[in-house]
Subunit: 216 residues, 2 copies
Amino acid sequence: MKRAKISSNVIRRLPRYLRKLDELTYDGTDRISSSELGRQMGLTPSQIRQDFSCFGEFGQQGYGYNIETLRKEISQILGMDRGYNIVLIGVGNLGHALIENFGFSGHGYNLLAAFDVKPALIGTQFAGVYINDMATLPDFLNSNKVDIVVLTVPRRAANSTAALITDCGVKAIWNFTNIELSINNPNVLVEDIHFSDSLLTLGYYLTDAASPGSDD
Amino acid sequence: MKRAKISSNVIRRLPRYLRKLDELTYDGTDRISSSELGRQMGLTPSQIRQDFSCFGEFGQQGYGYNIETLRKEISQILGMDRGYNIVLIGVGNLGHALIENFGFSGHGYNLLAAFDVKPALIGTQFAGVYINDMATLPDFLNSNKVDIVVLTVPRRAANSTAALITDCGVKAIWNFTNIELSINNPNVLVEDIHFSDSLLTLGYYLTDAASPGSDD
């Protein structure tokens, strides 16, 4: 089904809904009204209905949302049922943390392998994921369907690695390198996690809250 | 000076400007027009002028922006000159990665100490930062001015740790636990980094790009 162009604000709320639904399931709740869901998430009921209406009709008048059904719908919209294959490049502290602690499989992703240049790491494994030699990456990408690359290399290697993997046909990069990647192919999707942007934003609000005459 | 209420979109662009200015400085550029800055950042010149006008007048007609001056202005707006003190709680892989690789001091923050419950970690140090016993945290918070806590504890410990530190007067939490913290004090600022939201958003766009009839 062709989807209408949906605003990025709506899309970025979908994972939040998913987390909330998981929490409700965990607490043994099986259905919820849009007003109660809104109250718990700091959104208005009409906002919630509007968000979901972008994708079809999920609730039932007077009944609310069945949590299991809604969760399934949202996870499909997010592509969690596609079985996307992932490769992680750069097994420093952060790469290591992601391999061991991030729930790739719980989110429907297959973490196939990791790659690094350090001889001491190559051939070892963390949490069942093998660390391969970076030199073998092009071969690996050419012989496996890899949908997403997690980029946790040092920033000096960020653009050259991005060029290498996009040349091998990778179409999506989850970028932890804290630099804006220069990629020539407009079809490559890049999702940045900029730790510093997040901390500096917190610093802004802290400064603002402490400023004389602040509302807070 | 009392600041007007500024939209969160503007605020979240400030760290992006800062990264771009650092990059330009690194490349030896000392001034830039709003149109060139916009071109490089995918923003319109009027958008840029409007963003900066929230905070005063930074550019000069016909000259553009002096990069060093603009960087200083933005870093002050973000509170980078306040010397905020930070404590990190939870030295697992991710906490370890942040201590060793995130440039706290380069962003104007002082990482005073880290805390963990694991006996094997207590008393050791990473990158010059001591790991202290969690049991000593309340004393530490009461005898040091701590502005921000980096929360990298396991999710099961997230809310209890948040309650502990806010009871000790901490007003800002940089939350990596991937749960929405339940905090009763409305004056506590929480900045979440939800890794899963980010990856799922990428998964959405990847799914969307592959759907029949997609624009891309």
